[in-house]
Amino acid sequence: MSETRVNRGFGRVLVVVYAVFALAATARSFVQILTRFDEAPVAYTLSAAAALIYVVATVALARGDKTSRRVATTAIAIELAGVLIVGTASLVAPSAFPSASVWSTFGSGYLFIPLALPILGLWWLHRTRPVPED
């Protein structure tokens, strides 16, 4: 396999989609915390954590060096767990999620991109893993 950098080719597009979610989630969380944090402190804290994960994943994927790959893998694994847990919980106990979050019902409000993104991210990190030199 030829050497493909994680932030080149398809990786460039992946970073952009991550960046859009990072921007959207951060801005939304910023507004929620600044204007109405008292209404739902737990939900808005979770929302801020999700935003932070998207930001970390974006930066790590964009940098693409050895340490960044590890950071990206961890962040994206947490992201996948988050979308699966929140997605399932929002179906099992919808009353606990009064206002829709980006991960509610597996991101169906966002064309399921929040569910596809971590799977694509982990696949791409795996595909571009450094080949050990003999």
């Binding site: 597009v13 801005a27 910023f30 507004v31």
Partner: protein, 119 residues
């Protein structure tokens, strides 16, 4: 927050998005003429943003001003950021990035309009 200027700010990037879509399909990176067209679309966004912010400042009824301002200022950053990100990319991935960016811009204009009308 509707009218010819807002419509242009939505339609122009959508129409231009067809160009990188074609480039993506035929496996080409963006050429010089597409960059010029992107510049024109960005100028349209700047004019729209100035109008939107002036409308926001002069509006007396209450609405989510912070969200509105973030959408309007954010949409200005999308195309320059995308251009910067693909400055050294010579594959069709550069076209794909521009396609995504050109779809995000009208989405943000529509969101700004929704915030304006209280959705």
């Amino acid at each position: 927050m509707t009218g010819p200027l807002a419509t242009l700010a939505i339609v122009a990037p959508l129409v231009l998005a067809l160009w990188p879509l074609v480039l993506l399909v035929i496996n080409r990176p963006p050429g010089r003429s597409l960059w010029v067209a992107l510049g024109v679309v960005e100028v349209i966004q700047v004019v729209f943003a100035v109008w939107a912010l002036v409308s926001m400042v002069t509006r007396t009824t209450d609405f989510a001003r912070l969200e509105f301002a973030l959408y309007v200022l954010g949409l200005l950053a999308i195309l320059p950021a995308a251009g910067w990100w693909i400055r050294a990319e010579k594959s069709r991935a550069a076209s794909a990035v521009l396609l995504v960016a050109l779809l995000v811009v009208p989405f943000m204009v529509v969101r700004a309009q929704q915030v304006w009308s209280g959705v």
